[in-house]
Structure formats: C-alpha cells, structure tokens
C-alpha cells in the first residue's frame, strides 16, 4: 500500500511540473487567440528560441541556467516585439487560413535558422548543482529540479493571475478579450494592449523553453513537434481563457503521466480518448465561448 502512495506522489510531481511548463507555453497562445482571433502556429517557436539562446549563454559565456534565464527571456521578448511590429502586422490583415499559413511559414524559418546555427542534435540544458538529485521524505523521493520547476511556475501563474485580475492593464486586457469593439469605444488602445500581451506571451513561452528542456528537449523541430500538444491544451481550455488553459494543461499532463505509468503499451492513447470525449461534449472547450 505504501509503495503505491510513494509512486503516486512522485508521478504527481512529474505531472504537475510538466503541466506547468505546458501552461506557460499555452498561456501566451490562448490570449493571442482570445484577443485577436489569431492562431499563432509559430508560438512554440518562441519557446524554442528562448531555450537555444540560453544554450548559447551557457555554452559560450559559461553562465548557469538561472543566470541565463532572464537574459534569454529578454532576448526572446525583444525578438517577439520586433516580429510583432513587422511580420505580424501583415499577418493580422489576412484571412484566418492565410494567418495560419503565414505563421507556419514563420515557423519554418525559425526551424531552418535554428538548424543552421545549432545543428540537428538534441540538447538539454544543465541543471544547477543545488537542484540536482532528489529529496527524500521517508520513502518518497522527489526530483529536486521538478519541485523547483513546479514552485517557480506556480508563482508565475499566480503573478499572471494578479496582473490580469488586479491591475489596470489586466482590466484593459479583459475588456479587449470580452469585446474588442466596445473596448475601443471606451478609449482602450486594443492594438497596444495586444502587442504588450503578445510580447509577454513570448516571454512566458521562453521561460518554459529554458526551464523545460528536461521534458521538452531542444531540437530544430521543437516548434512543430510540441505545437499540437499546446494547441490541444488551448482547445480544451477554451480560447482566451487562462483558467481553462491551466486546468487543461494540468489535467492533460497528470492524466497522461498516470495513464502511461499504468498502461505503458497504450502510450498517449488515453489522453486522446479523453480529449475526444471532452471536445465532443464541449466543442468550444471547458471555458470557451462560441
């Protein structure tokens, strides 16, 4: 009985940390979808760019993971801001299908550039020494890095909640998501709110890209390989709903972790059945609106 509990708890921590990484990536995407009705296929590409920038900082400048993190995130955010000003201006103006194709094009450019710069090998970033190994509580052993990851991302999720629910900027953002036209009428610069949110979304994706290399190792096809998973999280959560994304991301990863442990031969099959069920009952997601 006791061993069931210990395994159960370590699996929960694994699932939780993976789910929070998924949430950090999907939070930017769901807001982009909610505010501008823009499906940004290139979103995972920003996580990838963050991860690779940190890789450069670690390898060439000898920085530790935690020192490289803020620099890599800042660089990705600046890149996101530049792209938002240039290429994305074109992307906003075309049809829904055109937007998807253009962002796929941007993703291809990211993949090719990363491959040209770093090669096609798989990389993971080194864990800081004080977070290596595992903590032991009687019989339960918990990976230190995973726990650290869970705590950091829960803090960030709390920060996001605070900004959105308690600040002026959050109020403007919520107004823009709920009714962009009305928001414009009361004097909110929706474009600017969106640009700021877009950059913040890129930064959040970059944090996930840097911290999550254990679960999502860096490789040039990062941008497309993990996109489907993130899209599923966003679709199940409902467009524009951060709460939905959080629940979907945690539900996805925890269910998936347990299912894979209990039925290893079936792989990711269980999560997809659950997903099909949820989407056939609620096509617009848990917290989505038509």
């Amino acid at each position: 009985m006791n061993s069931y509990w210990t395994t159960g708890i370590s699996l929960l921590i694994d699932g939780l940390s993976f789910g929070m990484i998924l949430f950090l990536i999907s939070s930017g995407l769901t807001i982009t979808l909610g505010v501008m009705r823009l499906l940004n296929i290139a979103h995972c590409g920003f996580a990838m760019i963050g991860g690779y920038t940190a890789l450069s900082l670690v390898n060439h400048f000898g920085l530790g993971l935690l020192a490289a993190l803020p620099i890599a995130v800042a660089i990705t955010a600046i890149l996101g801001a530049i792209l938002e000003r240039t290429v994305y201006r074109w992307i906003y103006e075309t049809s829904a299908l055109g937007q998807i194709l253009m962002t796929i094009g941007l993703t291809f450019i990211m993949i090719a550039s990363i491959n040209a710069g770093y090669g096609s090998l798989t990389h993971t970033l080194p864990t800081p020494e004080f977070l290596a190994g595992a903590w032991h509580f009687e019989e339960i052993s918990i990976s230190a890095y995973r726990s650290f990851l869970s705590i950091v991302s829960l803090t960030i999720a709390g920060l996001i909640w605070y900004v959105i629910e308690q600040t002026d900027f959050g109020a403007r953002l919520r107004a823009s998501v709920d009714n962009p036209r009305m928001a414009r009428c009361v004097g909110i610069n929706v474009r600017r709110v969106f640009a700021q949110t877009f950059v913040a979304g890129c930064a959040l994706a970059a944090i996930a890209g840097v911290l999550g290399t254990q679960m999502l190792p860096l490789q040039p096809y990062y941008a497309t390989n993990y996109m489907v998973m993130v899209l599923i999280v966003v679709a199940v959560g409902g467009f524009g709903s951060l709460k939905g994304s959080l629940i979907a991301a945690l539900g996805y990863s925890i269910f998936d972790t347990y299912f894979r442990y209990l039925f290893p031969a079936a792989g990711a099959f269980g999560i997809y059945i659950l997903l099909a069920l949820i989407l056939s009952i609620r096509p617009f997601g848990l917290y989505g609106r038509a």
């Binding site: 009705r37 998807i100 090719a112 550039s113 491959n115 497309t224 489907v228």
Partner: protein
C-alpha cells in the same frame, strides 16, 4: 433545387457573364495540364516516379479544394484521410485481396467513413475551432497508428504486401511507368467527378453555404447534411490518393498521417489558388517538383525559403498564381481575335 437564372442587363458585356460562369468551361490551363501530363509520359520516362508523386498530391489537393475552396470547411488535417486510405488499401492487399482497383475503393470507403464520423464533430463548429479540431483529430490518429504496432507496424511502417496487375494485365514495373499511367487515369476520373460535382446544383449550394450559411439555411437548404456529404466525399477522395500512394510505393509510413503533410497540401492549394479545381494542379506540380529538387540540394535551406515564400505569397498573391495563368491565357486569346 431552384435553378439560378441570370438575366444580362444591356450594359453588362457578355464577357463578364461568361467569366463569372467560367468554371463550366474547360480553359486553356486545363488543356495545358493534360498536354503536359501526356508529354511527360512519352518524353520524361526517368521522372515517372516523381510524376506519380505529383499526381497523388494533386488528387489530395483536389479533395482539400472541395472542402476548403468550395465549402468553406477549414481543414488542416486532411492527411488523416490520406493516411487512413493508405493503411486501409495496404491492409486490404495484405489480408484480403491484392487486386488494386478494389483496394482503391476500400481505401476511399474507409477514409470516407472516417470523414463521416469525424464530420459529425468537426462541422458543428466553424473557423479557428474547426481548424484546431481537425489538427487534434490528426494527432489522435497519428498516435493510434504509432502505438498500434501489431496492425500498422508503428514507426517502421507497413510493407511487404503484394499488388496484383491492374485489370489482371498491367503489372507495376520498377521504373514506375505503369504507376504513372495508373495514377493519371485515377486523377482524370477524380477530376471529372469533381467538375461535375462543383457545377451541379449541389456544388452551387456548397458555394452558397461557404459565402453565407445563414442565408442558405433560410432558403431551406439542410446545411449540416450538405456539409457532411461534401466532407465525406472529400475525405473519400483523399483516401483514394492515399490508396494509390500505398499501392505504387509498396510502403505506408506514419508520415502519411502527419501534420506536415496536411500543411503542405494546404500550401499547394494556396500556391495554385482555391475554389477553382485547376489550382490543385498548378500548386501540386510547382510544390512537389520544387521541394524534390530543393530537398535534394539542402533540406533545411529549402525550409527557410519555403517559409519566406509562404509569407510573401499570402501577403502578395492571396489568390495564388492560377488567376495569373488565366489572365495570360485570356490575353493571348484576345490578341488572336483582334487583327
């Protein structure tokens, strides 16, 4: 079904009316494509395998055009039907019968049936939700194919099945000459079917739904049923494309279900132009040949160029290059008429 009658007013030149019903007529671009296909059979024997790939992609792009271009169903998961058709044809050849034409029918029916079932879910929503649902369904099926190794062979792919000679006479040769003609014949059949379909009252109803579904509903059109029908037909055609691919290459890999293939077909359609059938031909030829050449030289730079081209193409020619070719054709014909 109500018949649409257009009364020409006096100041509308006849040319304009003819232009708006241009889809009835076989244009210059049609003639060019078929001439090219036959030319390729006689003079480009070494490229028949590539030619077969082009034709398979054209059939797949045609099926996608029926869904997106004519009916406004935004699908980014058409590779699913292609892959299901391919696996169905391969499994049929492996376990039941190696006759190819029956295999085509089986592939088409399997994909069509899957299209019918998923259509019940996908067609309930529109726009971005629809796109994401089609992507998600693609991911599910890909996962099933990768996991269910005893049937699909998993990542190793499915191979080792024999395909009997077509009609008991023409066997598939190593150089792909038979495969080329075989797929060309299927393409001709599918193209004829698609033309009849889009020019029928049913085709006009579909375009009506695409442009304004609420209005069609008010006119008494059973919108959901019509969309489900065209989605199933489109899925079946994609399945036929997959079945040909399985038969002529003798291998089905999980790649045939991938998101990348769905994306590539959409790009082909974008290059050629949507809602015009010929777009599939132009896009398919340009995309497959360029990607084959460029990938042979340097796959990653090709990806970079493709990305850039994609952005510029959507930005500057949202209608694709199809209309340019028509305009060039029209220009040539006009010159000939005037002294």
């Amino acid at each position: 079904m109500a018949v649409l009658k257009v009364t020409p007013s006096k100041d509308t030149p006849k040319r304009d009316i003819a232009a708006s019903f241009g889809s009835h007529r076989l244009g210059l671009s049609d003639a060019l494509v078929w001439a090219l296909a036959i030319f390729a059979y006689f003079f480009l024997g070494a490229y028949h395998q590539l030619g077969t790939q082009v034709i398979i992609m054209i059939i797949l792009a045609l099926s996608l055009d029926l869904a997106i271009g004519y009916s406004g169903i935004e699908s980014l998961g058409h590779a699913v039907f292609f892959g299901i058709g391919a696996y169905a044809a391969a499994l049929f050849a492996l376990n039941v019968l190696s006759e190819p034409l029956t295999g085509l029918v089986v592939g088409g029916l399997a994909a069509g049936a899957f299209g019918f079932v998923t259509g019940l879910l996908v067609l309930r929503v529109r726009g971005l939700t629809q796109v994401i649902l089609t992507i998600a369904i693609g991911a599910v099926v890909l996962q099933v194919a990768t996991t269910w190794k005893s049937v699909t062979g998993g990542d190793d792919g499915l191979a080792g099945y024999q395909v009997a000679p077509i009609l008991g006479r023409y066997s598939f040769d190593l150089y792909g000459h038979t495969a080329y003609l075989y797929s060309l014949c299927v393409l001709a059949f599918v193209f004829a079917l698609a033309r009849i379909l889009v020019n029928s009252p049913f085709g006009y109803v579909l375009r009506g739904i695409r442009d304004n579904d609420q209005r069609m509903r008010m006119l008494g059109v059973p919108v959901a049923a019509r969309l489900l029908l065209i989605y199933s037909i489109s899925a079946a055609i994609a399945g036929v494309a997959g079945a040909i691919s399985a038969q002529v290459t003798g291998l089905v890999a999980t790649d045939s279900l991938s998101f990348l293939l769905s994306g590539n077909v959409l790009i082909m359609l974008l290059i050629g132009g949507m809602g015009r059938l010929t777009g599939a031909f132009i896009g398919g030829i340009i995309f497959v040949i360029f990607s084959d050449r460029a990938a042979a030289i340097d796959p990653f730079n090709w990806l970079f160029m493709l990305g850039g081209l994609l952005i510029l193409a959507v930005r500057f020619t949202p209608q694709g290059v199809g209309p340019w070719i028509d305009r060039m054709g029209g220009y040539l014909l006009d010159r000939r008429r005037k002294p």
